[in-house]
Symmetry: C2
Subunit: 688 residues, 2 copies
């Protein structure tokens, strides 16, 4: 059996694959010269090879290692290769490899990932390699698969390459020899042979996308193009951002109306109000605020349910509603004893669920709780320190003591930042330790952990003020300043700074190098900073949503401010991802994953918080005193209101179906046909 | 094309089917003479035909109608028949028809219903007619399908017969002529031609089952045999009853322990307690009761989650975990415009979901609310009336006024009963009006409606006492008496009376008729009262569960009483269904349906109720006064406890997977193979 590589065994990598011989023909749409590896099946021979992914090698990598790697990428799967196409860049000694994918590899991976594509009948259907001729455009990869899908498939194939037997990599020390079933790509990354694997931009498409996305005055985004160019996760983020922004319209309108009308009412009533250091127009009329609070509590559930439907429609449209990650190869970092997967019948590493659950229970949960405890401890320390220095300042009143007044805040900020950094590392290791089989499960668990901590970090102080100190004016002040400050800071860091950087620093560099060789253009894409991921973008939305829903009744104009902020946010985020960062890999996904849950939980917690704040509001207390309701009874009323609202939200969530009717029918039709097919197939395999 | 029946067209029902010619051969295991209709396919010709279902005709039915009906039952499906076997009983003029089913009909229906059967590989797999030879025992129907399944299939086929064109039924007036697509069976039932369709008992099997089920001292039930003889719904009820009974053990033990120990503690503390008209040992120690209340609140969630797992395992074991009711024919009562079902591609009546939802929203919900309002009104009227007669009795104090004291109770009971009867009719009509496509959806909606009302009826008074009157001693008294009285009444009506009836009334009749002709034996089964359905059995459990969970902290020995009650309940219910009623039809089901939801909702409501009762308890008030906690703060603590408990229950419910690990793997394996089959089949159909 011929396998790739082996100790110095240069010629043993399958006769037809990965020869150094360069085969003739015009080979690229980017003007690159010949030099692609041979494809292993005749149907994939093509006049034109599109560079999809750039592999950046370390400086110290020797030519024989590079040659071996190119051969590995080009070798067929049965020989332990990735069945892709590789190009050595300018010459065999350069530090890049450009990778592309032949048709067969793309189609097989499309089936393995469970992507759905338009069938002859016009419906979307899970792609099947055997049945490829019945899918529309299945002969033209650049139409059939989106750019992001093709790039994801290249990464998927590279990540999946495992050593078929123990072997030494040419040009590398023995300590880096591979053992059977080792994941080659991650091993090479750890060894510093591969520095980076990044998807390449397609400059023409990027220009067209930018123009349609954020240059004009358009109100909607070209989501299909975003999906096709940047892929599933990015497209879902921008879809949600748009959906969420427009869903702020009703509470914003209501907030403005209530503020306006209660302002008018307020002027008549202003004389009777006394002893409050808050301006009366912020106080508003209790009934108006209550209407708004109840409205936004129910609204948040309706919005999240409608988003679920929208999300389901999008995932149908984008062919990701039937992903088969469970049935595909496990993620590269997954390890376990080799065995037969009872679901797919393939031999692969297995790891029992109970072990994973045990690890979550005895390691992850306690560590996360510990860190949350440290956050609370930090906050308490901050309050204690603040009281101490205040006391000190009162006693001594000197310049030194005045400077000391800032110490607790500074110490708290430093403490929080260190904690956050340590926590991120811990979360990463814990999630690795949990050993999830699927990449999406890994991401969801990791995101979930960081999310809980970040959220706690943001809101601990506000909850402390609202529930423990019960100081409503302070809460209102904090909230207003946070909303304004956060948004200003965001706008500056996300719009102004990038704009300046692009116009005065990057742009001149770009024009300078216009007629550089093709390889330098590719290499320059690596010079941009890596895309930081969508976590920060989502958490920003979640925190906004938290301000809006948790404390909406103390600051009625929140929705208006957020609406304005988000309208610019869409553009600045689009600009960022197009121009300021490397293009990220983006897997096909069926929705927002764990963020959906986070938003839903928040919308339920908001009911508790709002009912409590209503109870605390001084006007409410006044009113209940006037009406002769005792403290206990008004508390009872608040609890009753809370229960009714929570039940109403639950009923609403159950009543609104999670997917539109047409989609349910299509899904059931697919279920029905595949159930029928199972019976048919058994019969046919019996006959043959 | 040849179709069944038609105006006097005696010979036009398909040459080979339903001839009056009696074909030779020994025909039954019940000793019945020849007379079965011919089977339409050669593979189904069998030496032995098992009588499965008895059709009782009206007295006035003329022989030609009966003949037509027998032909209809025997005709193949393509001719509009039911493709079953019919036997006219003693002669062509008798008022019964005995129905059986040939092999092909049984197998095809098994596929259509989506039943799973053991495959060659040992796993359960959805049965496929084409692949029948790979299923174990698929040539012997009496092993392959259970008796209950065969009987259900006969009913399913009979219910599904529709007129292929407008036709007059011989021997019936023109007003009863059939129109195309009319459901023949339900039309004949409405017309009084068919009085009853009942599954027949198999005396030997019944005897064996009785012996294994309730005659000995066994602690477990022969659930597989129950499932095989009585079918899915009945088997799930008894499985749940057993599971629930044993799950009462932990709270019962805890209850006894706490009562014992708190009794000891109580004696020391008894002097300090004063001003309470409740005996101190019923009061118990607060901490003990609180422990028990918290324990049983969490316990109820764990039990329901474990039951879900058990229920999933059972439905796998019994082959009903993959039912395809959505893909089968709609239920007989379903009507709508004819169209192509987008899921299955078959022509059938269609009814849009939004119309159904609209009907639920504008008709069902308001009517149910109206009736619930009437229950409350009745209760208020009762209290008002009671106050009035008390006043009257105080003022006048005569024999008449003393008699009048009973008037409100009597009036309330009469009112409640009338209301319940009217409501049941209303619920039936409303659910018919909602026009559900699947029988299970119909049953669940009907059960749901009756359930809400019945439950409200039972608990309105207790809730009134607990939440409005806040009279804990009265609640405790009511609860204790209800528990004892209900159980005594149940035991008497369910055990003693049936036993007496059976031994002194039925038994002599039975022996008398031992050597009657076979037909009389069959006919005698109809003499038994119809099985009243499992609703009353389930509601009894739900009400028990309600007493236990909603008010567990006022009466700690509830679990013990219920445990004792249920141990006899299992036997009495088993005895009832075996001996005292007609055998019911029972569809294959995957679980308890709507009852699962009812129990789960109740377990959440119980948290609110228990926290409230804890707050009200005089000892608690005393303790909080001693500790210097104000009323408002103790209310806050109770609310906090409630929220923590509800969140804990939700987390528990999420953490415990709804199906065991092995079952999830099997299910995913089925999904995987059917996904693969879909691709394969497309390819094969392309090639052919």
């Amino acid at each position: 059996m011929s396998t790739v590589g082996g100790d110095g065994d240069d010629g043993g990598c399958g006769g037809d694959a990965a020869q150094k011989t360069q085969w003739p023909g015009s080979l690229s749409d980017g003007g690159m010269g010949p030099g692609w590896t041979k494809v292993s099946c005749p149907c994939c021979v093509s006049e034109r090879v599109e560079p999809l992914v750039l592999v950046q090698l370390g400086d110290q990598v020797r030519p024989e290692t590079k040659k071996w790697l190119i051969r590995l990428i080009g070798a067929p799967v049965k020989d332990g290769g990735a069945a892709l196409l590789a190009h050595p860049g300018e010459d065999a000694c350069g530090d890049i490899i450009v990778v592309s994918a032949p048709k067969c590899t793309l189609l097989r991976a499309t089936e393995e990932l469970g992507l759905c594509k338009p069938y002859r009948s016009g419906d979307m259907a899970a792609f099947s390699y055997h049945d490829r001729d019945n899918f529309k455009d299945s002969d033209n990869m650049e139409v059939f698969l989106t750019l992001a899908e093709r790039q994801h498939i290249v990464k998927y194939e590279l990540d999946g390459v495992r050593a078929q037997r123990d072997l030494r990599i040419p040009g590398l020390p023995d300590s880096l020899a591979l053992q059977q079933r080792d994941n080659i790509w991650s091993k090479l990354e750890h060894a510093g042979v591969i520095l980076d694997t990044l998807p390449l931009h397609h400059q023409d498409k990027l220009k067209a996308l930018s123009k349609a996305w954020y240059s004009g005055n358009q109100l909607t985004q070209p989501l299909d193009e975003v999906h096709s160019y940047f892929g599933g996760t990015v497209a879902f983020y921008f879809s949600f951002l748009e959906f969420y922004t427009w869903s702020l319209l009703p509470p914003a309108v209501l907030g403005v109306a209530i503020t306006y009308f209660s302002g008018a009412v307020e002027k008549e009533a202003v004389d009777s109000v006394s002893g409050s250091d808050v301006p009366s127009d912020e106080e508003g009329s209790v009934s108006g605020h209550m209407v708004q609070a109840v409205f936004s509590m129910l609204w948040s559930t309706v919005v999240m349910e409608l988003w679920k439907r929208r999300s389901a429609s999008l995932s149908y449209r984008w062919g990701s509603f039937h992903l088969a990650e469970r049935f595909a190869e496990p993620r590269p970092g997954f390890h376990g004893d080799m065995g037969v997967n009872p679901v797919t019948g393939r031999v692969e590493p297995l790891f029992p669920d109970w072990k994973r659950n045990l690890r979550i229970a005895v390691a992850s949960v306690p560590v996360v709780c510990l860190f949350l405890g440290l956050v609370v401890l930090g906050m308490l320390g901050f309050y204690w320190g603040e009281a101490q220095v205040q006391q000190l300042h009162q006693d001594w009143d000197s310049l030194l003591s005045q400077t000391l007044l800032y110490l607790p805040s500074v110490a708290h900020i430093v403490y929080t930042n260190i904690l956050a950094t340590v926590y991120k590392t811990a979360a990463q290791s814990l999630t690795e330790f949990e050993n999830h089989r699927e990449e999406s499960a890994f991401q969801n668990h990791l995101t979930g952990k960081v999310l809980v901590f970040t959220f706690f970090n943001y809101f601990a102080v506000l909850f402390h003020i609202a529930f423990y100190k019960q100081d409503l004016p302070l809460l209102r002040k904090r909230l207003a300043s946070l909303l304004v400050v956060t948004q200003l800071v965001n706008q500056v860091t996300e719009v102004v700074v990038p704009f300046l950087v692009d116009h005065f620093i990057s742009a001149p560099h770009r024009t300078e190098r216009e007629d550089d060789p093709e390889e330098d253009k590719l290499r320059r894409q690596r010079k941009l900073p890596a895309f930081p991921g969508l976590f920060v973008e989502y958490i920003e939305l979640l925190v906004q949503f938290g301000y809006l829903s948790l404390f909406s009744c103390v600051y009625p104009l929140t929705a208006v401010l957020l609406l304005l902020n988000n309208l610019t946010e869409i553009r600045s985020d689009a600009f960022k991802i197009c121009k300021l960062f490397r293009k990220p890999f983006s897997a096909p996904v069926a929705g927002m994953g764990v963020w959906q849950i986070a938003f839903e939980i928040l919308s339920f917690v908001s009911v508790i918080s709002n009912c409590w704040l209503l109870l605390l509001s001084p006007r409410m207390r006044e009113l209940s005193q006037e009406a002769g309701i005792s403290g206990t009874n008004s508390l009872l009323l608040a609890v009753l209101l809370e229960h009714i609202l929570i039940v109403t939200k639950m009923v609403l969530a159950c009543l609104i179906p999670d997917e539109p009717d047409w989609l349910r029918k299509k899904r059931e039709h697919i279920e029905f046909t595949s159930m029928r097919a199972l019976g048919q197939q058994k019969q046919l395999s019996e006959e043959s």
